[in-house]
Amino acid sequence: MLEQLTYNAKDPLLFNSGFFLFFIFIFFFFYQFLYKKKLTRVIYFTIFSLYFFYKACGFYVSLIIISAIVDFSLSNWIYRVNTPAKKKALLFFSVIINLGLLCYFKYTDLFISIINDAQLGRLEPLNLVLPIGISFYTFENLSYTIDVYRGQFKPVTSFLDYLFFLSFFPKLVMGPIVRASDFIPQIRQDILVTQQDIGRGLYLILGGLFKKIVISDFIYVNFVQYIFDDPARYSGIECLFGVYGYAMVIYCDFSGYSDMAIGMAQWMGFKIPMNFDLPYQSSSITEFWRRWHISLSSWLRDYLYIALGGNRKGKIRLYINLMLTMLLGGLWHGASLKFVFWGGMHGVALAIDKMIMDIRKKFFNRRQESEVRSPKSNQELPTPDFRLPTSKLSNLTSQISHLLSIVFTFHFVCFCWIFFKANTFDDAIIIIRQITGNFNGKAFIPMMQAYTAVFAVMGIGYLIHFTPKGMQLKLENLVTDMPVIGKVALLFIFIWLAVQVKQADQVMPIYLQF
């Protein structure tokens, strides 16, 4: 029994483990009695969070406490000192400590391997275990301190509140990256969980469970990992579907985990902004990044892109800033140059997208101007009868072009995923070579036969993803309006289904190692 309650490196605590169900049940059971007492609530929450953290990564839990102490003190100090130079020096100090810790744990081995590869020395890699969640809470610390420095946010006066914010367990392992300015004001507010919150929370938990375990884990373990493990053994069509599968895997895994976090927080009375907004429905890469891992992309925008100067320093600088942001954003995902490459491809695509948008805007403006300048021609516009069919036609063409844009954007994103996921750069090239030069379309039917269940599940995943938002909202309302017994039944069925699909050999969430 004691073994169960202590940290086990082989079996870290995640939302999809049986242990978590007991954990969350005990949490909610006592929470109902003490949620009204503010200080007790904060202490209660923090203890659960720190224990969760301990179960997930052992004694690295001390790192989060230390970083909470450092950032809490520094931010208050920054707030108190009154010369800009001192403020800047303190901020610099805070950034160095935060990024220093992150770099030490995450990037030391990458630097060592670069030094070794360049024959500048022979260093032994450290093989450090990456503390879980460090990428997430480092960014939360940074945004908090920078907000205080920028004067946008008054630092919290209670250390407990800050520790509560940083360690809040639903978002601890895989995000979202919560902003202190969004979250901290909620800590001392009265907790109110409405019927809507229960319904929406349940909807998110059910969806998350389904996406993470039923879709992502299933198609990953039973198909996608085989392809990426040894792509040369598979024909182009298998590789292609492996890539499509992976696009679904990474989306469902990451967004499913995020959704569960947001849903649970909602049940506890806390609102966390959405992290994914059906990203593959995007019709441009700019839109994709507005809908994919929103908490990260908005963080990068606010604290990296804007800090670099954003678009205020001219066209050239804008593109450079965009590129730098995406390269570093790529590196955030993992300590490997292939992630930098992945970020770079997205950076180039975003820059091209921006250029096209600028050209379009110019063109559009000029046309509008000319129309404004000659009001007479306006009156000579065709009659409504005549206009109707053309507008229908242009409506259709714009719909088709919108659809094509979605297909194109999706495929570009998939292309980039190849480099993101492949074990090595060479493997990525092999996958592309197989798809382009060794497609073997004949393999389609046997492939479908061999992996019927996998492709059925993958199909369901894509179907759900491309379901219009309005319909999804209706479904959410349906869940909200259910009586409690219906909600219990629904959750029970989903858990039962997840157990059926779940592999006891736990599939680690992909972002966990980031």
Binding site: Y31, R233, W267, G269, I430, V484
Partner: protein, 465 residues
């Protein structure tokens, strides 16, 4: 406002869920619906510390019955190491004598030694064979990859040669049942070039071509001799052009040979076919003048049994030109199936294969390599497929019955649940399908095989001298 607060519902919902799941864990809730079995939901299994599966190693049985010679049984029992090569021939006539004698002569620089390594997807892309070839050539000499097919689905994957070909070859295989008008070569494939209206001897015509280029690796960076093997052809209307010279394909035997290049090193060779008639092309051999050659005859999904479809005259025909010292049969993974307990059909099939090969190549040794370990997922845990030891027993039995040599790869890999270690170990030796060793695992297999073969070889040489 307080009336609106439904926070208590969260406690209620989780309470009922946990109670329901505990209740479900206490009963056996598995059931069948059609052919699908729904698993038992056991929430408590996460809390319990004992694993679901007791890990008892499966013992390799000794096989005894009237069709197996008595000394064969003692021979198997005699070996202390279950991973060593067992020669089921007799003391006076050990099975591996042909191979070892050939190897001995190769060492004395008197002749080449050739090994035909038949296998399934385990050896695709020259896996295992490339490492075995490399270590053997280190010791006994030799330059080149040996036999090459004309087309291959894993051409891009192979590291030991650059292999490209035109898209207009017709490829027939062991598993095509449609074949009166083609003849399978030793590799189980038959390649037919596109026919042309007039054989104008131009290399740029509409005919089919294949090109092999050396790679910059030791002993693989040049070819000395390039030989083409093909079936009987009608006469002067069929040509192949290579190295700027035209050769007519007009052999009348079951297997004919054309030496396209001889004795001087080249980095690449392209053979362009201009044939007015159907010609069955079996493949090429790229080799030096001495040493050891290991031919990779891979065929994915093959159980081994269809090898009887390769005609005896083809086997003896090619053997008269390539002179195989050893034929290796490395199969089994494709018949492993947890639902099957009786593999006597496999015993019959493989016995026939061995006898077929023996009849066509009487002076060639035969070595059966067993299936390696392969895991299945049972309640989330990876364990050795229970039918793996059954298949291996059958393979050993075939070797005993036909008096050939046997090597237990499963034992050499580490026995029960070794695949789990190969996949999950610090150095990853196998793929996540828990079936295929990766290039590192393949190298390990080749090294183990080399080591165990050499142990036997040394004993042979000691006895001889």
């Amino acid at each position: 406002m307080e009336a609106l607060n439904r926070l208590r519902q969260t406690a209620l919902i989780t309470l009922v869920i946990v109670l329901l799941l505990i209740l479900l864990s206490l009963t056996d809730s598995s059931f069948r619906l059609g052919r699908y079995k729904f698993k038992r939901v056991d929430l408590l299994s996460d809390i319990k510390t004992t694993g679901l599966y007791r890990k008892s190693p499966l013992s390799g049985r000794l096989l005894t019955d009237s069709v197996i010679r008595a000394d064969s049984i003692t021979r198997a029992a005699f070996k202390a190491d279950p991973a060593s090569v067992i020669d089921f021939g007799s003391d006076s006539l050990p099975e591996l004598r042909h191979f070892f004698e050939s190897l001995f002569q190769t060492q004395q620089k008197q002749k080449k030694t050739r090994i035909g390594y038949f296998g399934d997807s385990m050896i695709e892309g020259d896996l295992v064979t490339q490492d075995l070839r490399s270590t053997l050539q280190d010791t006994f000499g030799g330059i080149g990859v040996g036999f090459m097919p004309v087309t291959s689905i894993v051409a891009g994957f192979r590291q030991t040669i650059l292999h490209t070909f035109s898209g207009n070859w017709q490829t027939y295989t062991l598993l095509d049942h449609s074949g009166a008008n083609h003849v399978l070569g030793i590799s189980g494939f038959d390649f037919v070039p596109a026919t042309v209206g007039t054989a104008d001897r131009a290399t740029t015509g509409p005919g089919s071509w294949v090109k092999y280029s050396a790679v910059s690796k030791n002993r693989l960076n040049r070819f000395y001799n390039v030989r083409l093997f093909y079936g009987s052809a009608k006469g002067p209307s069929n040509y192949v052009t290579a190295g700027g010279r035209n050769f007519s394909l007009d052999g009348t035997s079951a297997v004919n040979e054309l030496q396209l290049l001889k004795g001087y090193p080249v980095q690449s060779v392209q053979a362009a076919f201009q044939c007015q008639d159907r010609v069955n092309v079996f493949g090429f051999s790229l080799e030096g003048d001495s040493g050891v050659y290991v031919d990779n005859f891979s065929f994915r999904g093959n159980s081994g049994m269809p090898l009887t479809k390769i005609p005896a005259d083809i086997l003896s025909g090619i053997n008269s030109r390539l002179d195989y010292g050893l034929i290796i049969l490395h199969y089994g993974v494709n018949v492993v199936n947890e639902k099957v307990t009786d593999f006597s059909w496999y015993e019959r099939g493989m016995t026939e294969v061995v006898n077929h090969l023996k009849a066509a190549m009487p002076n060639t040794s035969i070595l059966i390599i067993s299936a390696g370990d392969k895991s299945i997922r049972r309640d989330g845990e990876y364990i050795t497929d229970p039918s793996v030891p059954l298949v291996i027993d059958i393979q050993k039995r075939v070797a005993q019955k036909t008096d050939v040599a046997f090597w237990n790869l499963y034992e050499a890999m580490g026995g029960y649940n070794s695949m789990v270690k190969w996949v999950q170990g610090d150095t990853v030796l196998a793929n996540k399908d828990y079936t295929h060793p990766n290039f590192r695992g393949a190298r390990k297999i080749a090294d183990l095989l080399y080591k165990h073969l050499m142990t036997e070889y040394k004993t042979y040489v000691r006895k001889k001298v």
